[in-house]
Amino acid sequence: MARNKRAIPEINAGSMADIAFLLLIFYLVTTTMDTDKGINRKLPPYDEELVEDPPPIKERNIFTVLVNSNDQLLVEDEYLTIAELRTKAMEFIDNNGDGSCEYCQGFKVGTSSDNPDKAVVSLQNDRGTSYGMYVKVQNELVAAYEDLRERYAQEKFGRSYRSMNEDEDKEILKEIKLAYPQKISEAEPLNIGG
């Protein structure tokens, strides 16, 4: 019969694109691509009893940063704004009081740190300090170390520290981190301005 001789008609795939678009838009809406970013820190392990005798550190090797409940900064007994903190911290770490650090460019002030290895940054905040301020202070302190490392990398290797690769430049990174070891210590917060 005439009817049977006709070939099976092709399936109309014109709306396939529409279906795919619909799925695509669904995925665009329900998923996120933003990678999480933040400041990495390490907490000290929890110990039931407090360490009885913390190793003595000379007063000149400690850089005290206090933040009160009004988000005001007191750095080395001096009122500072957040914009000044980074330079102040860099001066302290880079001071090179005992002259043992060859790559430092500090002022060798008698009241500031001996060398970058001995320098400790001590941070204490109040329970009423805002988290935003705390992150800002942390950020500036980390930035001070990063800037010094960057300078060291530029002088010694002629390369940018920030662009180095974790896998390829393992040894170099290790050396830079050893030149300016990051020592930030956090004290238990005060509860004054609760």
Binding site: M16, L23, T35, D36, K37, K42, D126, S130
Partner: protein
């Protein structure tokens, strides 16, 4: 010349769109692979602080999130306005953090558990008292790698102006 070309009708032939689904499917697969589902619906408002020295959290499977902030408008009748902690999809108290960390750790393989990072996503107005309490709980749970989730500011100078 001898060959006479017959002029066809002058209307443009329809553009062949049979490859369009392929292209769209390709895009679709790209998005399916490159993105992740939204993790939880936030019950607290989180307005992340800004910082410049930030690092990417590479492997999502290693990251566990802790949210802290004031409850959203629609939960305020029930939970008040003071900042609270959110774990997974629900409000939690500080005592819930330790079991939560242990449970998360159990779900990971042994080598991954050692690399587990706790990402603290807190609102910038939250007081440090709450954050310190969270940190103490994390220390007790032996989850020592943490990350203060923050955004890269568009204008770095603005970081210093707000005072």
């Amino acid at each position: 010349m001898a060959v006479i070309k017959k002029k066809k009708d002058k209307a443009l032939p329809a553009v062949n769109t049979s490859a369009l689904p392929d292209i769209v499917f390709m895009l679709l697969f790209f998005f399916m692979v490159a993105t992740v589902m939204r993790e939880v619906d936030l019950k607290v408002t989180v307005n992340k602080p800004q910082a410049t020295e930030i690092q990417k959290l590479e492997r999502k499977s290693l990251v566990t999130y802790i949210y802290a902030g004031a409850p959203r408008q629609k939960y305020q009748d029930k939970f008040g306005r003071s900042p609270r902690v959110q774990l997974n999809d629900s409000f939690a108290s500080l005592e819930d953090i330790q079991p939560f960390v242990l449970q998360e750790r159990e779900q990971k393989s042994e080598e991954d558990a050692a690399m587990m990072t706790m990402s603290i996503k807190a609102d910038k107005t939250v007081k440090m008292g709450l954050i310190t309490d969270i940190k103490l709980q994390l220390r007790k749970a032996q989850a020592l790698k943490i990350n203060y989730s923050s955004n890269q500011p568009k204008n770095v100078q603005a970081l210093y102006d707000s005072e």
